[in-house]
Each structure stands twice: as structure tokens, then as C-alpha cells.
């Protein structure tokens, strides 16, 4: 099995520190290769930035596969360039401290990087239960939107669960009844039908069958309840839509409030899955080609 390539762009926020147990756990469980990257501004002292970078998560220097990269310039540009020149499977981007005030026109850095790199992004909101981050992953949840035509997050969730020997939980909720929904034959309107559909979607690539839970109403509360009920250690979600309300920064996405970390998968990822079972050279070539 080839190692998972992790890129952790850091800005020394408190949540960056709090994400460390999860990173350590992932490095151990998947023999992941960790790259810690700090991008500093043009006017900043490079020597000071280098000193801070070497001091952050100092124990990572003892990890078998880890490196630190210091870059100058705009964060998004440098991260995109790094992803283009080196194999990266997963970006680690804990959320910044929310101000909970409207920020008109604000676009989340995570979303910008997700769109620019087309790589899955691991993130953790301020409500994440950090006391569980060091525990081995036993339950992997995957949120499926029944109205969506494709589910790019599903192959990643399956591969992640399989690599860690964890139980996969497929979570969904029946959509609100609108005329387009009623006319679309492919959208199930009964929990049992929806559960059958989800099982069929996840049949390939799983050694043990996925557990399925479908809520009857698609509300924030029901989504959180499903995540809580399956005791998820991590949840895979599709790239968040940005309705007008969110453009004003008034309310974060629902998964931002969950107690477990989240892996957000772009609509059109660079690769359909990580291909961790492939040999390192083959997988790196695939990633570069994509």
C-alpha cells in the first residue's frame, strides 16, 4: 500500500495545534507522508517564519516521512503550485476561528483551495471533539445528497474506511417535496427505497457491507442526529453549495458544526479515488497525469 500524501498548510492558529493528534493518528494508521507548509507574506521576516515553522509540531521531524516547506507569496497560489509539482492526496485545513458576524463577499479559504486544487480537504470546525482525534478511526460516515447526480465523495469514503478497517455509514435525508423532485423518477421518496439505492451505490469495493441511515426530513438537526447516532469519527461530504445567505457569511455550513472532522470532496476531483492500494510510482504517475 502506498502512503497517503498529506499537505498541511499552517498559520499557527489554535485549531492548527488542536489538529495535531489527528495528523499523528493518520500518519501512523496509513503510513502517511506529511508535508507541513507555511506561506508567509512578502513583507514578513523569512527567518522568523522559518523559525516558527520548525517549532510548530516539532515532533513531526521524528516521523519517518515528513518535511517542512516555507514559501513566500499568496497562500492559495503557493499551495496550488505545491499540489501541481508534488503528489498530494489530502489537504489538512482546520477551520479558522469564526467571528460569527456577517462578512459580505467573504469566500472561505478552504473552499478556494478545494476549487483551485480539486483535492479533498480535511477540516475541523470549532465544535469538533478534540479529545477523540487521537483514537483509531472505527466509523467513517459519508453524506449522500439524494438529489445529486454524482457522489464524488463516496469512492474516497469507501477507500478510507477499507484502508483503516473501519465501518462505513451512508447517511442521507429525503429531499423536500418540490415539483422537480416529484417529477424526477430517480429521486426516492421513501426511506426504504432511499436506503436500497444507497446500498447499491456503495456495493463495489467494500469487504463488509455499509450501514445505511436515512432521515425523513432534511434539516440541520436531522443531519447532526444521524452523524451522532453512527458515532462517526470522520464524515465525507460533497463540496458545499454556497447559497446567497452563505455569501454574506452569516451562517457556516452544517458540517462545520459537527463534533467530528470532515473531509470535503470537490465536485470534480483530480482523481476518482486515492488508489492507495496501487504501488507508489504508479499512483504518483496517475496523480501527475491527472
Amino acid at each position: 500500500m502506498r502512503p497517503l500524501e498529506l499537505l498541511f498548510p499552517i498559520d499557527f492558529t489554535e485549531l492548527d495545534f488542536r489538529a495535531i493528534p489527528f495528523v499523528a493518528q493518520l500518519v501512523d494508521a496509513l503510513h502517511a507522508h506529511l508535508t507541513l507548509m507555511h506561506v508567509h507574506g512578502d513583507g514578513d521576516d523569512a527567518a522568523l517564519a522559518a523559525e516558527r515553522l520548525t517549532s510548530f509540531f516539532a515532533e513531526a521531524d521524528r516521523y519517518p516521512n515528513s518535511e517542512r516547506i516555507l514559501a513566500r507569496g499568496a497562500l492559495v497560489d503557493r499551495v496550488v503550485r505545491q499540489c501541481a509539482t508534488a503528489p498530494v492526496d489530502l489537504l489538512l485545513l482546520p477551520a479558522s476561528e469564526g467571528v460569527w458576524l456577517p462578512r459580505p463577499g467573504h469566500s472561505s479559504l478552504r473552499l478556494q483551495l478545494l476549487e483551485a486544487t480539486r483535492l479533498p480537504v480535511w477540516t475541523m470546525g470549532p465544535n469538533a471533539n478534540v479529545t477523540r482525534l487521537h483514537l483509531p478511526t472505527k466509523n467513517v460516515a459519508c453524506w449522500i445528497d439524494l438529489k445529486a447526480k454524482s457522489h464524488p465523495q463516496l469512492p474516497f469514503a469507501i477507500e478510507y474506511a477499507e484502508s483503516l478497517g473501519a465501518q462505513l455509514h451512508l447517511l442521507s435525508a429525503l429531499p423536500e417535496l418540490t415539483i422537480p423532485v416529484l417529477y424526477d423518477e430517480k429521486i426516492p421518496l421513501h426511506p426504504e427505497t432511499a436506503a436500497d439505492l444507497l446500498r447499491a451505490e456503495a456495493q463495489q469495493g467494500l469487504t463488509r457491507s455499509a450501514k445505511v441511515a436515512v432521515a425523513e426530513a432534511d434539516t440541520r438537526k436531522s443531519r447532526h442526529r444521524l452523524v451522532q447516532q453512527c458515532n462517526a469519527d470522520v464524515i465525507f461530504v460533497p463540496q458545499a453549495e454556497r447559497p446567497l445567505f452563505d455569501w454574506f457569511g452569516a451562517r457556516p455550513s452544517w458540517f462545520h458544526e459537527t463534533a467530528c472532522p470532515v473531509v470535503m470532496v470537490p465536485k470534480e476531483p483530480r482523481q476518482r479515488s486515492w488508489s492507495l492500494s496501487k504501488r507508489p510510482n504508479e499512483a504518483a504517475a496517475l496523480l501527475r497525469a491527472s
Binding site: 523559525e51 516539532a58 476561528e97
Partner: protein, 314 residues
């Protein structure tokens, strides 16, 4: 783009003489924003809409003094925990150096031409380095194995994976090394007792740290200060508006900020091993120990310096 080389280690600072408000702000701003809105509502209602019944003569000075005493008592208890954690890790630094010195000076060279177990005393020092890192991870609830893989042989790491308490298992391994050295005639019973008492000291340090980690401050200290501070902050504008009028929100929010800050500081200090920027600088301290021990072993490649990041050393 620069790939950062590992810098030589000089000395680590615990905290710098700066404290950025942005570290404190996320913890207090929500409550302050709510209180400011409430203060404004009280001041405007009293001054502009003549709702004079809002202003009540509340003995704010007396209540404030009592609350300050309560908060000071609680913060002292929290600081005691933080300081005890720091003292225990200071003791760990000293005991580790003592153990390394004893292992390198009190153990005799192998007798005759035998090379079996010749490096046992070096292995003891390496186990001690691994022990310190394992204890840090144990207290911070962090997976120690990626680090241990580079410090210990693979088969030892695999055996440790089944252990619930990895540092305690490493202490046991050190005890077994001592037994082996005693049986090989490289230690007499007096020196064995000395070395074993150093292991007992390590065990006591670990026990002290686990006691702090597993026994939180009584929940009354968590709930009541928060509740009483909230009540006092709500009473403030009601008691002040009669004398200060429209200036009430400024004075009231400032006083509230002080009390909320006091309450927050106590909460930060009470858990010194919580993997946060405010806890005991375990990474820095364990690096110091590793550096000292590797120098005792005569090694040239030393660990990276851990310096303060934004005024905090981790």
C-alpha cells in the same frame, strides 16, 4: 520556496513577553458582544425613553469584591495545577539526566571478550528518550508510534502497540535491562538499587502527571464562577445606569471584560495537558531532555530547536 533544514538547538523559551489579544479574543468576544448589546439597550431605555425603573440601586462594589475573592481562589487552584505540572516536568528533566549519567558511568564494561549486551547501558538511555516522548503523547492523548518508530527497534514498537499505558511499559523494559545488567555482573546490588530508585522517581513523576490529567478541578469551580460572572455582568448596567446614563455601556463592558477574562484564565490553566497553546510546553521540554541525553551519548545530530510561535512555546 525553501525546504527548512533542522536548525541546531540552543535553548527554548517558555513564554515571550507578549500576549496577542487575538489568542484571548475568540474566547470572550461572544459574551462581550451580548453584554454590550444588553448594556446599550439598558442605557437607551433609561436615558432616552425615561424608563427610570430600570436603574436599581444594586450593591455592585460588595458583590464585585465577593466575586473577585471567589475568582481569585479558583484561579489560584488552577494555577497550582499548572505549576505542579511544570514542576513535575522539571523533575522529569533532572531525573532523565540522572538516569543517563548513572547508566553511562555506573555500569561496568562487559567482562572478557563477550560483546553480548555490550550496549545495554546505551539502550537504557535510548529507552529513556523514548519514555519521555511517550509520556508527552500519553498526557496529550496523541499517538506516540510514528515517533517511537524512529527511536526504538521495530519489534519493540510492535510489542508496545498492545499496551494501554505505553510509558509504563517502557519503564518496565528499562527495569528488565537493569536486571540483565545485574545478572551479567555489570552492576552490583548497591548500584542496582540506585538505578532502580531513579526509575521509581520517573514512575512518581508519571503518576503525578496522570493525577492532574485524570482529576479535573471540581465541577463547582467550573459552573459557579461562570454563572456568577454572567449574573454580575448583567447586573452591572442596571446598577450603573442611574449615575452614568449613556456612558454606561462603555464602563459596564470594560468591567465585564475584566471579570470574563479572569474566569477564562482560570479555565485555561486548570488543564495543563490538553494539547492547547496554553498548556505546559511538553514538546519543548521533551526536546531538551532528548538533546541532553544524546549529547551524553556523544551524538552529533541533535533535535530541532523549539522556539516560541506567536509568544507561545508548545
Amino acid at each position: 520556496m525553501v525546504r527548512v533544514a533542522r536548525a541546531p538547538y540552543f535553548f527554548a523559551m517558555i513564554v515571550r513577553d507578549e500576549l496577542s489579544l487575538r489568542r484571548v479574543w475568540p474566547q470572550v468576544w461572544k459574551r462581550l458582544a451580548f453584554l454590550l448589546a444588553f448594556d446599550l439597550a439598558v442605557a437607551i431605555s433609561y436615558s432616552l425613553f425615561d424608563l427610570e425603573w430600570i436603574g436599581q440601586p444594586i450593591p455592585l462594589a460588595m458583590v464585585g469584591a465577593a466575586l473577585s475573592l471567589f475568582l481569585a481562589f479558583r484561579n489560584n487552584s488552577a494555577y497550582d495545577r499548572w505549576w505542579e505540572a511544570r514542576t513535575l516536568w522539571g523533575a522529569l528533566v533532572n531525573t532523565s539526566r540522572t538516569l543517563a549519567r548513572q547508566a553511562l558511568t555506573l555500569v561496568d564494561d562487559p567482562k572478557g571478550n563477550t560483546t553480548t549486551g555490550a550496549q545495554c547501558h546505551v539502550a537504557l538511555v535510548e529507552l529513556q528518550i523514548a519514555y519521555v516522548h511517550a509520556l508527552r503523547c500519553h498526557l496529550r492523548k496523541q499517538n506516540p508510534f510514528p515517533e517511537l518508530q524512529t527511536l526504538l527497534p521495530r519489534e519493540v514498537v510492535e510489542k508496545l502497540r498492545v499496551e494501554k499505558n505505553v510509558p509504563a511499559a517502557l519503564l518496565l523494559s528499562m527495569g528488565k535491562v537493569l536486571k540483565k545488567l545485574f545478572q551479567a555482573g555489570r552492576l552490583d546490588s548497591i548500584r542496582l538499587t540506585q538505578l532502580d530508585s531513579t526509575l521509581v522517581d520517573l514512575c512518581n513523576v508519571q503518576g503525578g502527571c496522570e493525577r492532574i490529567k485524570n482529576t479535573p478541578l471540581p465541577r463547582q469551580y467550573e459552573v459557579f464562577p461562570r454563572m456568577l460572572v454572567a449574573m454580575y455582568c448583567v447586573m452591572l448596567p442596571i446598577g450603573l445606569v442611574g449615575t452614568l446614563g449613556l456612558i454606561t455601556p462603555i464602563a459596564s463592558t470594560l468591567v465585564s471584560f475584566i471579570f470574563i477574562l479572569l474566569e477564562t484564565i482560570g479555565r485555561d490553566l486548570e488543564a495543563p495537558f490538553e494539547n492547547a497553546v496554553h498548556d505546559t510546553p511538553l514538546t519543548s521540554l521533551s526536546n531538551t531532555i532528548e538533546l541532553n541525553l544524546r549529547q551524553h551519548l556523544g551524538e552529533q545530530e541533535l533535535p530541532t530547536e523549539v522556539r516560541a510561535v506567536h509568544g507561545f512555546v508548545y
